[in-house]
């Protein structure tokens, strides 16, 4: 059983005890512990259950590669599932809970799966649960889903907030080990702007644990000095607890900074997502040790040798009293020496036939038993390591001899962390000695300039020994700086004694000729329960591509993304296919390197900042007066103003009637206003609009249509001629930016020799529609310019003053009422609105919203972009031929409208629709025709485009598009309801209110 040693521990501060709970049980650790080291310190070996077989699992690793120790952390608004104990720094009051078991960690029903494991090989679910059909969804799937899934689902809104940060640097160095420090130092000395990030809280990586000596001093001292030196360089920024998450095209990189996970504080951002643009990126991300594949290698107590070393040295935690180190390389001996020094019993099993390197000799000299040519036949124990059966590595594991032990340290060799190198297309090459994939500098990821922008350094580049790491990192750092444009020269590289070592022996099966029974208990992917035999089965069934095997067995698809299992799995697959490992290749590495929170990705964009709300100058008044908001693009417009005691429908009805009978006000500020000016403006306007706009007299207004080059109606609005070479174009609310961009595009990319300038002045003005029989009265009451019928007839505009406001007044109407649209400077919009309300009170002035606006325009048969149009409708469909110039040779959309389908006489055309019973036609209803088409679908002959209850006429009114509609006036056709029944409606004229236009022309 694991326990805390009395002395030592580089990271912990014994004077600062920290209390936390695990599965409700109170426990203690120290400042500087990780949750993992604290649990081990308390003798808690069992920390979770595996994904598929619910096998008891313990801590395997000491870093982000940990596959087993995933926890539910915290509660309620700060609850987080799947947190790695090995990367969770301990703090007072931390609450942790193991996952994926029921009813308890110790007694888990799911363990049944383990008993049934022989029935649940890779891909078993593809071959089973086929009958009866409905059972998959209703019986099998729910069971499978419940047993899967690891952590609990959060239930609450996140109490924390997050932010982004944008940084541009010459050189980004990822990884704060000695390689990263050396690379950053070299780049910094060369004069480059450098950002160095380290995922953990500590600098120096493994070197201090591994006992390296650099520049004649212990690694820890060198690290401290180098960090200090970097901190003092003005052109170098260093940042711990910041992980390099992903590398993207053109030197873009993501870093994930965890600000408060180690010391919760809701007032600070929890995570900060760094979006970095780097000239060059140096990946000094180190290497990860590989497990060995022997039976029972997933029992709690079986760990990576390097992790055992870390826990003893960094946290003064012993994973056990009797440790068996099983290795295929010299590095394993470091662990043996470390644990022996800590006063634990240790035996080394070296799979190699002989081991005479310095470390091995040192171990022997220290009195450690070293047995060469040996491997592990199996590890046995009830939920933890109790006995290790030792066998001849080269044989099939028969007649093994037992050793009592409570911890097994696996040293299977090292794999460089090549994730960041690979994210953006960097390729790998296989290195025989060491048996790992390393970055292939010939096939590096290329940036915008076509040159390599990622350089790997140190262990991440396949250099595993201190001296080589430092040189490699120095070169990478200096090169990165030079390529990023730095002109200085780096100081000297740090040096270390060359460590002699004997070649490692790749061991993919232990023992080499292990039986099926043994191989079926040898785990490759701990979290997803993928065993050697699963990969072999995949190969046998023809899943030869590594991607197939990965997907079929789920190897490497767990939350550790195969950090421990990839190479071992590949090797087994290669063996099963009788191919070389490099031939089999690797799966694609995808960001992020290690999971990052959704909150961090969303950043500041939540709640009020989720999206911008565009506000008109009268926004506050609307908000204070019952506005029922309707989002229109990023604008918010009042749908209706709901008064106390009325519902939204009543409000709409009230607004329509008040406007028709006396006086209504509409905040029309959101309508787009574009100024088009220049000697060629007329010619340009004629291309933009289907109408002839060049002939519009100064002072007059004209309703215009805009089509896309594809012929479809895209926007409409009133155009006013301001002067000789200036037009003012009104667009729809959503249209201002879109149409402005549309105009600029044509001017810049097609007719760049035309002399035309366009400006978007939408927000310069607050615009109010003053509508109703008393519209003129209220303006006359405010005084100022003459707005009489004679001075300002229908479809004209004038500039002047309304009351004390300088204004531009357009005599136009979208409601069929006497109507003035008045534009005043936005800074005075609210004051103008208030003035109108005050002056209008005697007329019962009534502000109205978008719904009343829609109803009134529909009563007049006016079309609405987005209702009558949907991107497939041409003006001709809407009976707007009068607005399409016959004289013009060309305008955007003209050619498109000549295509067969556009000139088809059977196109659906706009008509009014009147239900026989006066009811309101269902929104979106279709008119049915005779029979069905070749696909058995009911034939249709039209559809409803707008349908409302008209408060004015007190019945339903509607418009729609109907095949040959205008020729079928008076005909009754059937429209469908979703329940399968039909409504009869008569085809009528779209204009159902004041057809002669008498009301608007007074």
């Amino acid at each position: 059983m694991s326990f805390r040693l009395d002395t030592g521990g580089r990271f912990i501060d014994r004077s600062k005890p920290r209390s936390f709970t695990f599965n409700g049980k109170a426990m203690r650790g120290f400042e500087g512990d990780t949750l993992a080291s604290a649990l081990l310190g308390q003798g808690q070996m069992l920390v979770g259950r595996s994904f598929k077989y619910h096998r008891p699992r313990g801590i395997v690793a000491s870093g982000s590669e940990e596959p087993n120790a995933l926890m539910n952390l915290g509660r309620d608004k700060t609850f987080e599932p799947n947190a790695r104990a090995t990367t969770t720094e301990l703090f007072d009051g931390l609450e942790a809970e193991s996952q994926n078991h029921w009813p308890s960690l110790e007694f888990d029903i799911g363990e049944l799966n383990a008993k049934l494991s022989r029935f649940l090989p890779a891909g078993f679910y593809y071959k089973m649960f086929l009958w009866p059909r409905s059972f998959w969804k209703h019986v099998y799937e729910p069971i499978i889903r419940k047993s899967a899934g690891l952590g609990r689902a959060p239930r609450h809104r996140d109490a924390d907030h997050y932010e982004h940060f944008n940084a541009t640097v010459d050189v980004l160095v990822v990884g704060g080990g000695i390689a990263g420090l050396q690379a950053a130092k070299a780049a910094g000395e060369a004069g480059a702007e450098v950002l160095l990030i380290e995922q953990g809280a500590h600098w120096g990586g493994r070197a201090p644990v591994d006992g390296a000596v650099i520049d004649g001093v212990p690694a820890a001292e060198w690290v401290e000095a180098t960090v200090a030196a970097l901190g003092a360089m003005p052109n170098v920024a260093i940042r711990a607890r910041t992980m390099g998450a992903g590398v993207y095209d053109h030197g873009y990189a993501l870093a994930y900074e965890r600000l408060t996970d180690h010391a919760p504080d809701p007032s600070l951002p929890r995570h900060r997502l760094w979006r970095i643009r780097a000239g060059r990126i140096v990946t000094a991300t180190g290497a990860i040790e590989r497990p060995l594949s022997f039976a029972g290698n997933d029992l709690p107590g079986v760990m990576l040798a390097s992790a055992v070393r870390d826990y003893v040295t960094n946290y003064a935690v012993a994973p056990g009293k009797c440790v068996v180190v099983v290795t295929n390389n010299d590095d394993g001996y470091r662990t043996a020496l470390t644990v022996q020094e800590a006063g634990l019993e240790v035996v080394v099993l070296d799979a190699r036939s002989e081991a005479n390197g310095p470390l091995a000799e040192q171990a022997r000299a220290a009195g450690i038993t070293v047995r060469v040519g040996r491997g592990i036949e199996s590890v046995k124990g009830k939920g933890k390591v109790e006995k290790v059966w030792v066998c001849d590595q080269t044989r099939d594991g028969s007649n093994p001899d037992p050793i009592k032990a409570d911890c097994v340290a696996m040293a299977g060799g090292w794999s460089p962390v090549v994730h960041l190198w690979s994210h953006c297309g960097g390729k790998l090459s296989w290195q025989e000695d060491g048996a790992f994939f390393r970055p292939d500098p010939e096939r590096a990821p290329n940036g915008a300039d076509g040159a390599a922008f990622v350089l790997a350094a140190g262990a991440a580049n396949g250099e595993l020994e201190t001296a080589a790491v430092l040189t490699d990192a120095y070169v990478a750092g200096a090169r990165a700086a030079a390529e990023a444009g730095a002109t200085g020269t780096a100081g000297a590289a740090a040096t270390a004694d060359v460590e002699l070592s004997e070649p490692m022996l790749p061991v993919w099966n232990m023992p080499e000729r292990a039986s099926y029974a043994l191989r079926s208990k040898a785990w490759l992917d701990y979290q997803n329960d993928v065993k050697v035999t699963d990969v072999e089965l995949a190969a046998r069934e023809g899943f030869e591509s590594v991607e197939h095997t990965k997907r079929y067995t789920t190897l490497g698809m767990a939350t550790d993304q195969g950090k421990l299992s990839n190479i071992n799995g590949l090797a087994v697959l290669a063996g099963a296919l009788d191919q070389e490992i490099p031939k089999v290749g690797t799966t694609t590495f995808r960001p992020p390197y290690h999971p990052i929170s959704m909150g961090a990705i969303a950043g500041e964009a939540r709640g009020a900042l989720f999206q911008p709300v565009r506000q008109t100058p009268m926004y506050d008044w609307h908000d204070a007066n019952g506005a029922h908001w309707e989002p229109v693009g990023h604008w918010r417009r009042p749908y209706a103003y709901v008064k106390p005691g009325e519902d939204v429908h009543a409000a709409v009805k009230r607004e329509v009637l008040a406007t028709r009978n006396s006086l209504g006000l509409l905040d029309a500020s959101t309508l787009g206003k574009l100024v088009v000016k220049g000697p060629d403006a007329g010619k340009f306007m004629d291309m933009m609009y289907t109408n002839m706009m060049s002939t519009l007299p100064v002072g007059k207004c004209r309703y215009g249509l805009m089509c896309s080059e594809n012929g479809f109606l895209s926007d409409d609005g009133v155009v006013a001629r301001m002067d000789d070479d200036t037009w003012l174009c009104h667009t729809t609310t959503g249209g201002a930016d879109r149409i402005h961009a549309h105009m600029e595009e044509w001017l810049q990319t097609e007719w760049w020799d035309w002399k035309v300038y366009v400006a978007n002045v939408t927000e310069q003005y607050a615009q109010v529609a003053v509508v109703g029989p008393n519209a003129r009265k209220v303006l006359e009451k405010l005084g100022g310019m003459d707005v009489s019928k004679e001075a300002l007839p229908f479809m004209q505009w004038a500039e002047g003053a309304i009351g004390q406001f300088s204004a531009r007044v357009f005599r136009i109407s979208f409601s069929g009422e006497l109507s003035y649209e008045i534009a005043v400077p936005a800074s005075q919009g609210r004051a103008f609105w208030d003035a109108l309300l005050e002056a209008g009170s005697e007329f019962g002035v009534t502000p109205y919203g978008t719904e009343a606006l829609h109803i009134m325009r529909a009563e007049k048969g006016f079309i609405m972009i987005g209702d009558e149009t949907d991107g497939t409708v041409i003006p001709q469909d809407l009976g707007l031929n009068w607005a399409i110039s016959k004289k013009k040779e060309d305008f955007l959309g003209k050619r498109a409208q000549e295509r067969d389908h556009m000139t088809d006489p059977l196109r659906w055309k706009l008509v009014g629709l009147e239900t026989l019973d006066g009811s309101v036609l269902p929104d979106g209803s279709y008119a049915v025709g005779e029979g069905v088409n070749d696909n058995g679908q009911r034939v249709v002959q039209g559809r409803v485009t707008s349908t409302y209850f008209s408060p004015t006429l007190e019945r339903g009114i509607a418009m729609g598009l109907v095949e040959l509609g205008p020729d079928r006036m008076g005909e009754v056709i059937a429209f469908n309801r979703v329940d399968g029944t039909f409504v009869q409606a008569k085809i009528v004229d779209p204009v159902v209110f004041d057809p002669e236009g008498e009301k608007q022309n007074v």
């Binding site: 944008n166 900042l609 000697p679 927000e763 310069q764």
Partner: protein, 190 residues
């Protein structure tokens, strides 16, 4: 003339930098041929500013000219002067192909001030623009994004930046800057 109000009525807030709306500022968009000496002359005659160089600012006694694009300038003046400037510029530029419009009320203007690199850091949280002093120096205009909306950024000095955005999103930009400068969220990168 009634009392004019700016987008967020002069709101201000203090975090690790101070954020304040600058109130009403006169702004006039001028489009024309920046390479044409007649144009330059006409603009000078009204603003007493020479033409700014690319991404630059030219200052006269009371007016400033900001480079917006190869054929566009933004004249910054007193709010109550803007309409007069429009008239004067239109007159001075008549005969040349040009466009002059008052956009004073279409904009919101913010001042972000603080010590050291605090100002750049608060803004780096919400703009992708490269804010390193050697890239975006004092007196240079950078048109870019503030989170999800367009904005123009200019450092008046190391300790103060001016941000211009559309009036309708004034509240959004103000809230963004307040959030970005929350005490305790200093980055310490620049």
């Amino acid at each position: 003339m009634s009392e004019a109000v700016s987008a967020v009525q002069g709101a201000s807030a203090s975090g690790f930098v101070d954020v304040a709306e600058a109130g009403l500022v006169g702004m006039v968009t001028i489009r024309g041929d920046l390479g044409d000496s007649d144009f330059a002359h006409a603009v000078w005659s009204v603003t007493h500013c020479g033409l700014p160089k690319k991404r630059g600012i030219a200052a006269g006694e009371s007016d400033q000219l900001l480079w917006m694009s190869p054929d566009e300038l933004l004249l910054v003046c007193a709010h109550e002067e803007a309409e007069a400037r429009v008239q004067a510029l239109s007159a001075a530029l008549s005969g040349q192909h040009h466009l002059v419009v008052n956009v004073s009320d279409a904009r919101a203007v913010f001042r972000v001030s603080g010590s050291g690199s605090a100002v750049r850091e608060a803004m780096a949280k919400v703009t992708p623009a490269d804010l390193r002093p050697r890239i975006l120096g004092v007196g240079e205009v950078r048109r870019t994004r503030m989170a999800q909306v367009p904005a123009a950024i200019c450092f008046d000095g190391e300790d103060q930046a001016t941000i211009v955005c559309f009036r309708s999103v004034g509240t959004y930009v103000f809230d963004l800057l307040v959030r970005s400068s929350k005490p305790g969220s200093e980055v310490g990168h620049f």
